[in-house]
C-alpha cells in the first residue's frame, strides 16, 4: 500500500491500524496480563510493586494507548467477522462501519479511562 501513488484513505488506514494494534496487544498487552497474574499470585509486595509501576504519567499513557488498541481491535475485529460473511463490503457501508468502529473505540477508551481509580 505504500508507494508514490498512495493516498491515505480511512479504509486502508484502519486496515493497517488493525494490524498495528494487534501487534501492540501481542507484544505489550499479553505480557502485562501475565505480569498481573504473576504479581497477584506472588503476594502483596509484588502486587504493590506492579501497581506502583502503573501510577504516574507513563502508566496513564500506557492505559490510553492500550485501551484504545484493545477497543479498536475488538470493534474492528467484529467488522472483519461481518465482512467474512460477505456483508458490508461495498464502499459506502465500509466507510460507515469505519466511522462507527472509530467512534465506538474512542468512546470505550474514554469510559474505561474514567472507570480507572
Amino acid at each position: 500500500m505504500i508507494g508514490p501513488y498512495y493516498r491515505p484513505q480511512l479504509t486502508s488506514v484502519l486496515s493497517i491500524t488493525h494490524r498495528a494494534s494487534g501487534v501492540f496487544l501481542s507484544l505489550a498487552g499479553v505480557p502485562l496480563l501475565l505480569w498481573w497474574l504473576v504479581a497477584l499470585s506472588s503476594g502483596p509486595e509484588a502486587w504493590q510493586a506492579m501497581r506502583d509501576c502503573f501510577s504516574g504519567l507513563a502508566g496513564l499513557l500506557l492505559a490510553v494507548v492500550g485501551l484504545f488498541s484493545l477497543s479498536f481491535h475488538f470493534y474492528n475485529g467484529i467488522r472483519h467477522l461481518v465482512w467474512d460473511t460477505g456483508r458490508g463490503l461495498d464502499i459506502k457501508t465500509a466507510y460507515r462501519s469505519a466511522w462507527l468502529v472509530l467512534g465506538s473505540s474512542v468512546a470505550t477508551t474514554g469510559i474505561l479511562l474514567g472507570a480507572l481509580p
Binding site: G22, L34, L37, L40, S41, L70, F74, G77, L81
Partner: protein, 127 residues
C-alpha cells in the same frame, strides 16, 4: 521431457499458503471466543484495579474466575500467535529472519502459557 501429471494433480500440489484454510478458521474461531471473554476480562481487571491484594487474590481463587482467567490468557496467546504469524509472513522478506521470528513468537507463547497455568493454579489452589 513431457509432463504426464494430470492438471488437477498439479494444481493440488501448488497450494497457495502451504497449509490451506485451517489458519484462517482458527483465527476467526479464537476471535469469536475472545468477543465473549474480553468483556468479562476487562470487567474483572477494572473491578480489581482499586482492590487490595487479599481481595484480588480471593476473586482469582474462585473456580469460575480462575478458569475464565486461564481460558482468556490461553485464547489471547493463541490468537496472538496466529496474528503475529501473518504479520511476519507479510513483512519479513528474509527467510532466515522469518523462521527465527516464528520460533521466538511460538516459544514465547508456550513459555507464557506455562507460566500462566502455574500461577492461575497457584491462585486457585491457594498454595
Amino acid at each position: 521431457m513431457s509432463d504426464i501429471t494430470h492438471p488437477l494433480a498439479r494444481a493440488r500440489g501448488h497450494g497457495s499458503a502451504r497449509s490451506g484454510v485451517r489458519h484462517w478458521v482458527a483465527q476467526r474461531f479464537s476471535a469469536v471466543l475472545l468477543l465473549l471473554l474480553l468483556p468479562w476480562l476487562v470487567y474483572a481487571l477494572f473491578s480489581l484495579a482499586g482492590a487490595d491484594h487479599a481481595a484480588a487474590a480471593r476473586f482469582a481463587a474462585r473456580p469460575w474466575n480462575a478458569a475464565l482467567l486461564l481460558l482468556s490468557l490461553l485464547t489471547l496467546l493463541y490468537h496472538a500467535v496466529l496474528g503475529m504469524q501473518v504479520v511476519i509472513e507479510d513483512y519479513v522478506h528474509s527467510r532466515a529472519l522469518e523462521l527465527a521470528l516464528h520460533f521466538i513468537v511460538r516459544a514465547g507463547a508456550v513459555f507464557a502459557a506455562a507460566l500462566g497455568v502455574i500461577h492461575v493454579a497457584k491462585l486457585a489452589l491457594g498454595a
